[in-house]
Amino acid sequence: MKSGYGIATEDTVLQSITRTGTAFYVFVCVLLVLTGEFLYAWYIQLTAGLVVTGMRSIYNAPNYMGPYVAGGSPWGIYITNFIFWIGISHAGIAISASVRLMDLKKYKVVARMAEVLTLVALPMAGLSIVFDQGRPDRIINLLVYGRFQSPMLWDLTAITTYFMGTIVYLYLSLRGDIDELAHKLPGREWFYKRLAMNYEGTESEKERHNRTLWWLALAIVPIMVTVHSVVSFVFGLMIARSSWYSTIFAIYFVVGAIVSGVAAVYSLAWIFRWLYKWEALITDDVLKGISWALRNILIIYIYLWIAEELTTRYMGASADLRVSDYLWFGPYAPIFWTMAVVGFGIPAIILLKPIFGKRHFNPGLTFAASIILNVALWVKRFTIVVPSLLNPPLYQTGIYIPTPTEISIMLGTFWLAALLYVAFIKLFPIIDLDVVKGE
């Protein structure tokens, strides 16, 4: 045990598995009820079709032809949610991989919770796409008839590769801990023994695992950049859509995803620290380190954003300017400006404050900033996707307002993600046991 971690032992870490209070059951029950509500909403959508959502075709047949005729946006909060979850998934394994590649021992304590975040977020992104399909029963056609001409296939390939990489990476880094748990928790030995697959824990075995993980980490970093780049290509390559069609999109999306992912990892680290009193493990120093990374990436993101807005506003093509005007002064202006000022401005101030003196770092306040940032980034993706679709070049079309059913289904991914995460922390240690062993 390293002295730096104070009194933290393996039991300190394992209390997330062994200690289960009433609050936990209440939390899970609430999540289950909400998931039930989501499943009901999804059932409605599956039986009635996507007509229950607020999405409509880009279209402007005359309004008097019926209530559903005027145009709208063919993509809405499901696609927004998809980009959001891909963004969340981003930092997870990336943080973990950089910890390994750059040998940042200090941050190893948050590596595991970041990896699990990726693992949970990616299926949620996939699920958002399934919600969005008109024919979810034919989703297999993507494999049967898929062609690489379509950016959507690039997405499918990159995301599944990323997902497989994450699973293997997580399993290999978890295997030693699982073996250890088999000894620690005799009641569940049958489960852990099978899962550890004859892990023996010899020095040569550990060394082999570490070597494999190092190479996997090296492979995962470029995959991670690819994943969000191809998500941006789904939008950025569409010449038909003003304000999407630009070179900056891939960089913009990747940086945005890293902001969202690092913020999510910060939120999680703070929550676990508060929940299990892990101040000795997740020290102020670690949290401050993450928040500095977050601050730097956020500055790059805001810089890219300003460059993008300036290019449009100063002498933009008329179609781009129309979308921008719609966003700045149109029906979405209230959420756009709230997002810009409250969602980005306030977290930026909170994160920038410690520059002027280290004592200004406040973990709780930074936690609030990290949550606000993620909400703001969700809205930001919405303001990228929808206004451009509502301003087709030949005519203006209607407005997009998500319906309650649609919102229930979208929120369902959050409840499911929380449930999966909770299930993980009750089965496996959320902090690498090597950390407290001082290896």
């Binding site: 079709g49 409509r56 075709s57 005729v69 008839y145 001409q149 379509s150 950016p151 959507m152 038909a240």
Partner: protein, 212 residues
Amino acid sequence: MVIDLSRCLGCWSCAVGCKLENDEPIGIWWNRILTNGGQEPDTPSGDYPNVKMTYLPINCQHCDNAPCVKVCPVAALRKRDDGIVFLDWSRCIGCRYCLVACPYGIPAFNWGPPVQYPDNSQFQIGNPAVPVRPVGVSEKCTFCFQRVDVGNLTPKCIEVCPAGVRFFGDLDDPNSQVSQIIQTKPTVRLREELGTEPSVYYVPPRNPLIKV
């Protein structure tokens, strides 16, 4: 196809004929008539008294370099050898990427179960050769390939147009009627700068068409 805007009356006959021929459900028009002034039909453009009224019938442009075909992930949208772009309803997964990619806002989506008025169960209105569309797929103009393939019929919009606005033929054949018109009259294509190479040519109206 060539559309002579100097002849168009804005009567919507092509739209209605198309809707009947192809069984298009409520809320979906493969053929629409836009006016330059605004959203509603027959909206003049300009400030009173200097107003103009021009029509722009719009249907699928059957682009040579079609963005919708490019982005379709399952090849439900395909291009035939004769240049017609069509959508295979039995394969479409309903991702609506074609709606997003099309610069002309052409593909429409069956958000709910398609409803036709009058109902096809009482008597057949549309062409029986048009398959029944399921819920949750996109659809768009096919240049009535069910008619073009059988004998020498033209698309329905041409047959029903009272003013002879539209012409249909082989653009590769220099002696066809459409090629003759393109050679003799000035023509424009919609949003040519995007490089989509549309196959629909418009002859501008005598009062020049304002901003297409």
